[in-house]
């Protein structure tokens, strides 16, 4: 249970800035995902929290106590790595025992031959064994305790790595893309398991991933990072429905949000693909970009039209790829009812509701829309 505060964390490697002043507060007991494309600095940030990497400036505080310069093990955090990082020469049991032995046994007691002969060692070893048995029971790895990591499957290794993290009862768990080495099916399964583990342990989880689906499905809050900066922090729903930046809108959501070229007029009216929207804004006139999620595009009716160039039927849903004539633009619409798929090459009209629209200015910042005015101009804008 810990609150982790980061203030103006900066980090550079060989002159390139990897983190450009991160200010951030992770609340006690929350599941927060650091998400972003590769190279955005999210893993570096996690390693700075863990103490594996020193920051160039800024401060990390855990429960209000600055931990800069404190060794990783003394910060009492546990980390699960992408490659699981199990000790290949040790059995599952010994792997999980390492952090406990390091903490509970003295240096002399850990000596290979002499150690086991010392008084008190047996009692401590007994306690360690009991703790590991309890963890193994919880994670369902009891039958695997005598095997070496090489004899385990990816999912089992993952569980052992989580067990090694859990056994020390850390203040917070740090996960560095722990699911990216698993196959797709197992990943979905482990997602549910990790979320459940978080609910049960009620400990702070900091989870780094480049997979927006993992971030969306597990976290209580998502922090989106791009180019060494924290762009937006919010609940999964906020990040998805109310992105503050076009990069966030494009990164979160699969398939990607459709971005259409638009224009803001002097009176605040907005055009997209040459037709006026039933919306207005207070932004200055100029180019803008209009984002619409695939599931918010209504096929069959509306002011726009395009040709069906590709169909993806996933069984439960389908994605229709439309090419818009003249604009050299493609967009994707989600179709919930797969029984009535449009024919390939057919010409389809489409539109979208006014509240489905997210408008971004030329540098990608979100433009707030005036809903009242949208109501007022509805009639004349009808095409």
């Amino acid at each position: 249970m810990a609150q982790i505060e980061l203030s103006t964390i900066r980090k550079s490697f060989d002159g390139t800035d990897v983190l450009k002043g991160i200010d951030f507060r992770i609340e006690d007991g929350e599941f927060i995902s650091l998400v972003g494309p590769s190279g955005c600095g999210k893993s570096t940030l996690l390693r700075i929290i863990a103490g594996l990497e020193p920051q160039n400036s800024g401060q990390v505080r855990i429960d209000g106590r600055p931990v800069d310069g404190i060794r990783p093990s003394a910060r009492n955090l546990a980390m699960v790595f992408q490659s699981y990082a199990l000790y290949p020469h040790l059995s599952t049991f010994d792997n999980i025992a390492v952090p406990l032995r390091m903490r509970r046994l003295s240096a002399i007691e850990r000596l290979p031959l002499l150690g086991p002969l010392l008084p008190g060692r047996r009692a401590k070893e007994h306690g360690i064994r009991a703790d590991i048995a309890a963890i193994a029971e919880q994670l369902d790895i009891a039958p695997l305790l005598r095997r070496k990591p090489g004899q385990l499957s990816g999912g089992q290794r993952q569980r052992v790595a989580v067990g090694r993290a859990m056994v020390r009862e850390p203040l917070a768990f740090l996960f560095d893309e722990p699911l990216s080495n698993l196959d797709a099916k197992l990943r979905v399964h482990m997602r549910a398991e990790l979320a459940e583990l978080h609910r049960r342990l009620k400990t702070t989880f900091v989870y780094v991933t480049h997979d927006q689906a993992e971030a969306m499905t597990m976290s209580s809050r998502i922090a989106v990072m791009m180019g060494g900066e924290l762009i937006q922090v919010g609940t999964p729903a906020e990040i998805y429905n109310d992105p503050g930046d076009i990069r966030v809108a494009e990164f979160i959501g699969s398939p990607k949000i459709n971005i259409l070229p638009g224009r803001v007029w002097k009176d605040g009216g907005i055009d997209v693909l040459g037709s006026a929207l039933r919306l207005a804004c207070g932004a200055t006139a100029g180019e803008c970009r209009v984002g619409v999620r695939p599931e918010r595009i209504d096929l069959g009716a509306g002011p726009f039209s395009g040709n069906v160039v590709h169909l993806e039927n996933l069984g439960a849903e389908a994605f229709v790829h439309l090419a818009i004539e003249g604009a050299g633009l493609r967009l994707i619409a989600r179709l919930a009812d797969v029984r009535h798929l449009p024919a390939m090459g057919s010409h389809l009209a489409f539109g979208f509701a006014s509240d489905a629209v997210q408008v971004f200015d030329s540098i990608g910042k979100r433009i707030p829309l005036k809903v009242e005015q949208a109501e007022r101009v509805r009639e004349p804008a009808h095409v």
Binding site: R71, P72, A78, M79, F81, S83, P88, V98, P99, R164
Partner: protein, 278 residues
């Protein structure tokens, strides 16, 4: 049909070539066994024959063991090679870990110096090292045989290359678990690098078991002699070289390595391919 024929002809040629090569390689070895089995009269006879008329291997061996304390020399060889290897590992592993996994100023320069060190033949430094040992008063001792080889630039290089392949995550996990940096070297890196350590061990033991040059320079006392010097002892006899016992002694001193090779053939080959030696 004709295709398979030509392939088999090629295979025959290939094997003939290999057999010829093997015969050339084995010839001195076979000659050694042959001479070791001959009585003195046959050794000096002018006709050439491999199979002795009178089998005298046991006599020659008995004479070899009687003339020189062969067991003592073998024991010296074991003491020296094992000490060298253990000390080499104790130096090379921490150094290799630092060069492979730690970030510090001047690391690349240091590594370049290690590479440079590999290029220097031991003979080039023999005289300075000899003078150093003389000043310290360590000549003619086990220390003189062992100390100059404790820092192996090649060992550091080999282990560093191997440690590079150990994932950083493993080192970080060990740090999170509270293992110290030296602890990581011995408890995480060493077990992960057992194949490389074995390879290096084979290389090191073979090189120092067979080393003739250095023991010849630093030793005077007979009881410290290493196996190759023991063989030379038979040549230096004033009564003339007795080839039969000499070859028998040579057989005895190469036996440990040959037996080790037969038992761990696969490891030897792995080791040699890994180190790229010979």
């Amino acid at each position: 049909m004709s295709n398979t024929h030509s392939v088999s002809l090629q295979a025959v040629l290939r094997h003939l070539l290999l057999i010829a090569g093997a015969a050339i390689m084995l010839a001195p070895f076979i000659w050694m066994i042959s001479t070791a089995s001959k009585p003195q009269t046959e050794v000096f006879s002018s006709e050439l024959h491999l199979i002795p008329y009178r089998f005298a291997l046991w006599d020659n061996l008995r004479e070899a063991f009687a003339k020189a304390n062969l067991l003592r020399f073998l024991l010296n060889g074991v003491i020296v090679t094992i000490s060298i290897f253990v000390l080499q590992v104790m130096v090379a592993l921490p150094a290799a870990y630092a060069l492979a996994k730690l970030r510090f100023r001047g690391r690349d320069t240091l590594f370049a110096l290690v590479l440079f060190g590999i290029l220097i033949p031991p003979q080039a430094t023999a005289i300075p090292v000899f003078l150093l040992l003389h000043k310290v008063g360590l000549l003619d001792s086990y220390a003189a045989l062992v100390l100059p080889f404790t820092i192996s630039a090649f060992g550091i290089f080999l282990m560093r290359q191997f440690f590079k392949t150990v994932p950083d995550d493993l080192v970080d996990a060990a740090r999170m678990d509270g293992i110290s940096e030296f602890g990581i070297v011995w408890r995480v890196m060493l077990p992960a690098a057992i194949p490389a350590v074995t390879a290096f061990g084979i290389f090191s033991v073979v090189a120092h078991w067979n080393d003739y040059f250095w023991p010849l320079i630093v030793l005077n006392s007979e009881q410290l002699r290493t196996p190759p010097l023991a063989v030379a002892h038979f040549r230096n006899n004033e009564a003339g070289t007795s080839y039969g016992p000499l070859m028998a002694a040579a057989m005895v001193i190469i036996a440990p390595l040959v037996i080790a090779f037969l038992f761990a053939q696969r490891r030897f080959i792995e080791g040699i391919t890994l180190t790229g030696i010979k």
